[in-house]
Symmetry: C2
Subunit: 159 residues, 2 copies
Amino acid sequence: MDVELTGRAEDYLRAIYEITARKGYARIRDIAREVGVQPSSAVEMMRKLSSKGLVNYEKYGGVTLTEKGAEIAAAISSRHETFLKFLRIIQVPEEIARRDAHILEHQLDPKTILQFSRFVEFITNAPDRPKFISRWMELFKSYCEEEDRKLKSNNFRRR
Amino acid sequence: MDVELTGRAEDYLRAIYEITARKGYARIRDIAREVGVQPSSAVEMMRKLSSKGLVNYEKYGGVTLTEKGAEIAAAISSRHETFLKFLRIIQVPEEIARRDAHILEHQLDPKTILQFSRFVEFITNAPDRPKFISRWMELFKSYCEEEDRKLKSNNFRRR
DNA sequence: CATAAAATTTAAGCATACCTAAATTTATTA
DNA sequence: TAATAAATTTAGGTATGCTTAAATTTTATG
């Protein structure tokens, strides 16, 4: 019942998932743009995903996810969200966070992913001690700002 | 001056770095075992790394790092340590943490890596407020234990 | 010191995933 | 609707990195 997917296949699945959410179906061109490859590469991958029963693909027709494909893509997408939130919490600049969330979402052990999401959960919904946790965030943030100031003055001195 | 390295090449470099630290040089066999591939694959990679001036490699001879190779490997290794510490902090079981630290250490943006290491630094050396932070760790830990209990009783109910 | 065992290397091949260029199909518009 | 433009697909290649099996070299031992 479980499907083996390479990290790259997951990227394509999530891309299709997101495009589909916006406009109901995905064209080869959209997918290629979203994943950052040439259309011919997207076609190749569609054949693979189709043979695994994850997408509905017919030559020259729009691409949609099968039920199984959508299920998997949703899981990948939620993982992606977790990592994005996490990177924001540790103060990674938005643009970089968006890029790196992609990288984090592959290959990690389910237990590791679980712990990442607990961390996010703990920090954002701080079970009992909301004040305590938000105080923690404040402290961490100013610690980072302090470090950034040090970095900048070092750079200045070096020039 | 900068060298382009695939994630896999980094794995090999760090392996050589660690083996070398233990016994002064690395044999093809050691490297293959550490990286988890067949010896012939290690030979192939040694030729690549050698052509980039990162390792000293002669047929049938032990492998050592060049100065440049050692410099890069040290950076990779320290990144690895950061991620390992981080995974421990978020309560990932040791064995899994060791495996996943490998995965984390590649491809991430330097700024992201910096923020990971600041997080670790902040948690372990808590600049001003040692008590505050260690209290945070305690809270997070018991939050995870609580969640684990919930998981287990759910599993139990399902059987 | 010859030979057997162990280590290493070479050779041939496979899978993934990418690309460019050319061919084909579909869509648009004059 | 015929011609052109745009999108898609196919064909042929490339690079990485892995494998097994056979050949070679080095090391260890009777």
